[in-house]
């Protein structure tokens, strides 16, 4: 029972982390129609900036400064790269961000080396918050979850309760009309792009210390984030939240499940046959837990192609 609760909690927190990255991605997509391939690279940049700055600013200072720097990188990407190719269409923008993600990963390798760096949580946070059964629950995980929740609430309030939020939402909904009413829509786009990037950077700075910080982290998380937005429905914040939590919990739970397809077939008396066939049928769920989100995505595409909360295509 305790194990289940710990797994659930881990899953929810991983899901919140996924949401922190996918929220910016889906917001930018909803607004500009651009799928930002480099979004997960911003996550990686956040972790590396925090790692590089923690020597001079301390852990908490780096945690604050790193998202701001990443946000500035995002602004530069939008203003000097994406805007220049906007007239070539969305596929072109996607390819450009793809190239940028490639360059960012290679630059990281150039400056920090092609191996994990020693970015870890500070000693002051390295304690167990409470015990569940015989497991100590690390306080830092709770901190990661809280950061995500606070961020979500702030963004939600900003979008729904402030004047800035109204302008942003109108720019998403009808950019030309908003522009005709005298709002600086390109500035809004740049701002949202920067804020989205900063959110991903914050997620990276927080999570990089707990998980590993290496030049592959962008790709690993990026693919998962794409799965999240397809499952949730592109452009839908609620969908992204739901799908993030779903995928976080499922991956976390499946690691602890030691059954294979052969065990299911055993109910029908076909275990011997399944073990003879081998391959996919005898693989334990725990060993292929990394593939489950992809399977879930294929399932969603079959039954509901527009995603859990997406609009009809």
């Amino acid at each position: 029972m305790e194990n289940l609760i710990v797994s659930l909690l881990n899953g929810v927190i991983y899901g919140l982390l996924l949401f922190m990255v996918s929220a910016g991605l889906t917001l930018i997509f909803g607004m500009m129609g651009v799928l930002n391939f480099a979004h997960a690279s911003f996550y990686m940049l956040g972790a590396y900036f925090a790692y590089a700055l923690q020597g001079s600013l301390g852990f908490w200072g780096a945690l604050l400064a790193s998202p701001i720097l990443v946000g500035l990188v995002g602004v530069v990407v939008e203003k000097y790269f994406l805007r220049r190719v906007h007239h070539h269409g969305h596929a072109h923008e996607l390819l450009l961000t793809f190239g940028l993600s490639f360059i960012i990963a290679e630059l990281i390798k150039l400056f920090f080396g092609n191996f994990p760096v020693d970015y870890r949580i500070p000693a002051s946070m390295d304690f167990a918050l409470f015990r569940l059964g015989d497991a100590n629950y690390p306080a830092y995980r709770i901190l990661m979850g809280s950061v995500a929740v606070v961020m979500f609430i702030l963004v939600y309030l900003l979008l729904t309760r402030t004047r800035v939020g109204i302008v942003v939402r109108s720019a998403i909904y009808k950019p030309r009309m908003a522009e005709a009413l005298g709002h600086n829509v390109p500035l809004v786009f740049m701002g949202v792009f920067g804020v989205g990037a900063a959110l991903a950077g914050l997620a990276g700075a927080v999570a990089g210390a707990f998980y590993t910080t290496n030049p592959n982290m962008a790709l690993e998380l990026g693919v998962m984030v794409f799965v999240v937005v397809v499952v949730g429905g592109l452009g839908s914040m609620g969908g992204a939240m739901l799908a993030s939590l779903l995928i976080g919990v499922i991956t976390s739970l499946s690691v602890g499940v030691d059954y294979s397809l052969a065990d299911i077939l055993a109910w029908f008396g076909a275990r011997a046959w399944a073990e003879q066939v081998g391959g996919l049928l005898t693989l334990k769920l725990s060993s292929i837990s990394a593939t489950i989100p992809f399977a879930l995505m294929l399932l969603i595409l079959m039954v509901r192609p527009s995603g859990l909360m997406g609009e009809k295509s």
Binding site: L94, L95, L107, F226, T291
Partner: protein, 425 residues
Amino acid sequence: MQSKLWIPLAVGVALLVALPALLSQSLVNAAIQMLIAALFACAFNLVCGQAGMLSFGHAAYFGVGTFATVHAMNAFNGAGLLPTPLMPLAGAVVGLLTGIAAGWFATQRTGTYFAMITLALAELMHALAPHLKGVFGGEAGISAMRMPAWGLGFGSSTEVYYLVLAWVLLSLALLYLFTLTPVGRLTLGLRENSQRLRFLGYDVHRLNVTVFAISAMFAGIAGGLQALNTESANYVLLESHVSAAVVLNSYIGGVTVFLGPALGAALMTFFGYAVSDLTRSWLLYQGVLFVLVMMFMPTGLAGFIRWVGTARRAHGTVALLPMLCAGLLAGLLLTAGTVFTVELLQRFFSQDYRAMAALNAGAGWAPIALFGRDWLPTAVATWAVPLGLWAVGAALVRATARLWHALQERAEPAETPTAQQGSAL
């Protein structure tokens, strides 16, 4: 127009046939890699350039082709139904079947969704492969031997080269002929306006799957040739950087021209081979080149060549020459400045150098050996080199732009009446 294209094409094929006699053994090996990459890029371009569907996971179909061929090589031992020269057929069949299955899912959606689904499918395959030991051989991979067949030993690179060349030329010809068939023309319609195709009564999803599967089949053939060349297969083949490389190569070459991706893939593979001993940052240069192409030359190298051809007809070779020379020089200078900076930084941030610096703390920064000279990282003169190169390069870019404007203005009087007419309408 058509007849004029035959001459360079024939010359190119003749050159390819004569290549092993002209080159050393290691360069022939590089040429084999280039041919395989070119075929893979053209197969990719069928989906990407012609049907307008961006696939970020084409390594999966290349990879299954390689694995299928290695399995076939072990099963048939170069005899029986599938002698060694026909082995890539196994890759083709498995590529086609995988393409049908994956394409059915991927083409449920178009545009951005399609790109993400193909990426996820490839990652799914990559995540699953190490666990399926029987098929993919786990971490170690599987290997096979090229058996003699048809009186040929296939022991030397030259024989492999001719086998690969034959397959690549045949496949490229088939791919080109496909573009001339009615289905091939409809493929262009998918890119331009699939809504309209649907109104005209075509089953768009089935058409999408067909095109995707054919592309996957030719990617499988390229994978099969890779298996014949390396005699082994490892799940690393399914990694995302293989998919990324084909996207980069195709767009650098230019997806709007049939042979553009082949050109890009061959060039990039050759450069990758040539500089792999000299630099560790080749992928960075490739990425930078790709971004530059996407921003300033969206039609790629092939589009650029075509543009030069049009400009030459419009202005004459002599008038164009100073501008092209200035542009070329500017490019060279900017490249030199960038390469110098990147290589210097790479050495400065390398682990060896860091360890050295930590060892001799207090002695200041040691000079870095680069291009046959020692450079002090703290000296102004060191950084003045790339800055100077960039400054001169940027000035030359300006000059090129000015020359081009001057050319256009000189050509203007002839065109003005039509332009005015156009604006009046």
